[in-house]
């Protein structure tokens, strides 16, 4: 065994999930084929199946707020490129964008965790814009709410909706 590269390229949770789903469905197919031919499937790698099942479980658990499963899940194929494009003017770094796509932060508090020096780098208005872009592109269970509530009235209705279908 020789490690050529210890891993400089990051993968998003969405990419890993789609790879795992692909692998699992291929294993199911092979098992079905083996059953047809009445031959048992040799070398079914138990280690592989258990680890990918657990990863999938983690990324789609209903009790943890996940953006990859449930009614408000986003479609990574269209949403992630769109997210990068819409957030381009704010010059976020790759790890910051990666965490936004993995966690889908919907509050300033959450954004502060994943974006370095969030409060120093961006004006209050920009901070709200970023939160809104994330909500518009990746969706979410809750309409973003900001501390001083000078929000428009139309958002109120949305908030109620957000909360009712957000209790997952």
């Amino acid at each position: 065994m020789r490690i050529v590269d210890t891993g400089t390229a990051q993968l998003s949770n969405a990419e890993v999930l789609s790879r795992i789903r692909d692998l699992r469905s291929r294993w199911k197919e092979r098992e079905a084929q083996a059953r047809e031919r009445n031959s048992s499937l040799r070398s079914r790698p138990g280690n592989l199946i258990s680890v990918i099942e657990n990863v999938e479980h983690r990324l789609t658990r209903p009790e943890a707020p996940t953006p990859l499963a449930g009614p408000t899940a986003y479609n990574p194929a269209t949403a992630i490129p769109m997210l990068c494009q819409r957030l381009k003017p704010y010059r976020l770094t790759k790890p910051e964008l990666l965490q936004i796509s993995n966690l889908r932060p919907w509050k300033i508090t959450h954004m502060t965790l994943v974006i370095e020096d969030f409060e120093a780098r961006f004006s209050e208005e920009q901070q709200r814009e970023i939160v809104m872009v994330v909500y518009e592109v990746l969706g979410g269970t809750e309409y973003p709410k900001f501390e001083e509530s000078e929000e428009m009235e139309e958002t109120e209705a949305e908030q109620v909706n957000g909360i009712t279908n957000g209790v997952t």
Binding site: I3, Q10, R42, S43, P45, N47, L48, V51, A64, T93
Partner: protein
Amino acid sequence: MFTVAVIEDLIEIKPEDFDLLSIQALEDGIHAKYADRVIQGVGLCICLWDLLEASEGRIGNGTGIAHVNTRFRMVVFRPFKGEVIQGQIRRNVKGVGLQLSLDFFDDIWVPCPIGLPKPSSFDESEGVWMWNSQNGDAAYDESEQVRFRVEREVWNNQTLSGPPPRSSSTQREERRAPYIIIASMTEDGLGPIRWWDEEAEGEEGEEEVEGVEAADGIEVEGQSNGF
């Protein structure tokens, strides 16, 4: 959370697998050897990402096993320093801290009380860590979903360098996990997700948020430089 690592290795294909497509047989061989295994300095291997190169197979003498030189990319779990991840509390350990779980990986530790917001303490009667905030105590209950920040990683090489010393039968050292992640939950928004996300329904949460800020200011600087 995940990265791709490029690895070169000699993969064996057993004669009974010769009826499979070569690429399928190689994938199976790689998975059998790597899935769910920690490689020191690389991380926990999950599954194959793609196969980059494979040589012709060479049949070994006597066994008929084909040996193929391959170069492939592996999906590896290895969060970067400073990354924020969601997991759940696995158990509370007095004097040590909280063990967290990601379902596929359980060796994540939050040393307490330094990894929790100040002031925090261990509650003997309940057997859980508590955040003694201004608004009352909040417990870090088991199986609670939490957000945490990755602080550093610890590698324990388990390959033996020689026969174990004779006396080891009496005082055997506990086997240490090959890859341990040290995490923290001091900042606003970290810790049980419920605490931070449910405030939208009422105003109670607002005050809590202010309470932490003072204690938090000191920690933040050191923690966010992982990006």
